[in-house]
Symmetry: C2
Subunit: 187 residues, 2 copies
């Protein structure tokens, strides 16, 4: 085995996903992931801090992409339009097959679900902060942040289940349209 491992990170990720699916996340060790990828544990730790990071790598970048796009939205954009633009921009980094398998692994493990929920709570707060930077008042910004996560989760689930599949950003737009119908019918 040469010192240079072509696509070591991709091989480790694929090996980890297979093992998480076959044995469960809890029962899989880093040593097993490295062995299945034909690499060493040392190489694993050069790419990931721990086995959980195989699933959660990129969360910070996702939040960054969403909040940057919210900041870059035209001044005329309404708060939820800016949020929708942010979510659509964040979706640029999604890979449908990986996302679907990752989702199933997370749903099978309470510890991973908690982690995912903590990440989503952070996303809500980050969206609210980005909107406040645009001059949105704190109460509306908090509501839009919570609503943004609701839209994100619904659009993401629908995108994963869409047999077509239409792009993620189409599902963001549809979720926002559906939310407008729901709120218009209320009160």
């Amino acid at each position: 085995m040469s010192r240079w491992e072509p696509d070591a990170q991709g091989r480790l990720r694929r090996a980890a996903l297979e093992l998480f699916e076959q044995r469960g996340f809890e029962q899989t060790t880093v040593a097993e992931i490295a062995t299945r990828a034909g690499l060493t544990e040392r190489t694993f730790f050069r790419h990931f801090a721990d086995k959980r990071e195989v699933l959660f790598r990129g969360s910070e970048e996702l939040v960054g992409a969403i909040t940057s796009a919210i900041a870059a939205a035209p001044a005329s954009a309404s708060p939820l339009d800016a949020v929708a633009a942010g979510l659509a921009a964040g979706g640029g980094g999604f890979h449908r097959e990986f996302s679907g398998r990752r989702q199933a692994i997370i749903l099978a493990n309470p510890e991973l679900q908690e982690r995912e929920l903590v990440k989503l709570a952070g996303l809500s707060a980050a969206i609210a902060a980005a909107l406040q930077h645009r001059g949105v008042a704190p109460p509306a910004a908090e509501l839009a942040g919570q609503t943004g996560v609701a839209l994100f989760r619904v659009a993401f689930d629908r995108w994963l289940e869409d047999p077509a599949p239409r792009p993620y950003e189409v599902h963001v737009e549809e979720a926002l349209t559906d939310l407008r119908s729901l709120t218009a019918a209320a009160g």
Copy 2:
């Protein structure tokens, strides 16, 4: 000390809150809570499964109250009107001082925050299920479930911070009105 302890549960809850605030949740033991309440550990465990339950007791009842009220809403009520009625009914069991202190304790402890997020995710799923029982299609029900939790969190935070204070259900209605404005301005 007589075998019958007047308001043992209330004394234990007050003692626990004080200790969680003074020393932190992690650093507080059940023995300390019992001692401060002038009761035994045995009595503590007759009322609570563990120290975390002092904070999370009642979560199931809350979800039950919300979903029952959603089921009982008039057939003519729109999905989000039914959700708002559910949230308002669930708020009947809230005590503002306890809720505010509980919130601060939870915000100071990542493990408790995770627990709270898991409870809220369960609430979202329960609202969606209650709406499906009313004949709401699954995609709209999921969106309304997620949106319901967004409304719950925002209304709850605003109620805790309201100097007036106006009742929780007024904040639920206001949050829904604000959400309608946000969505009407989008797209």
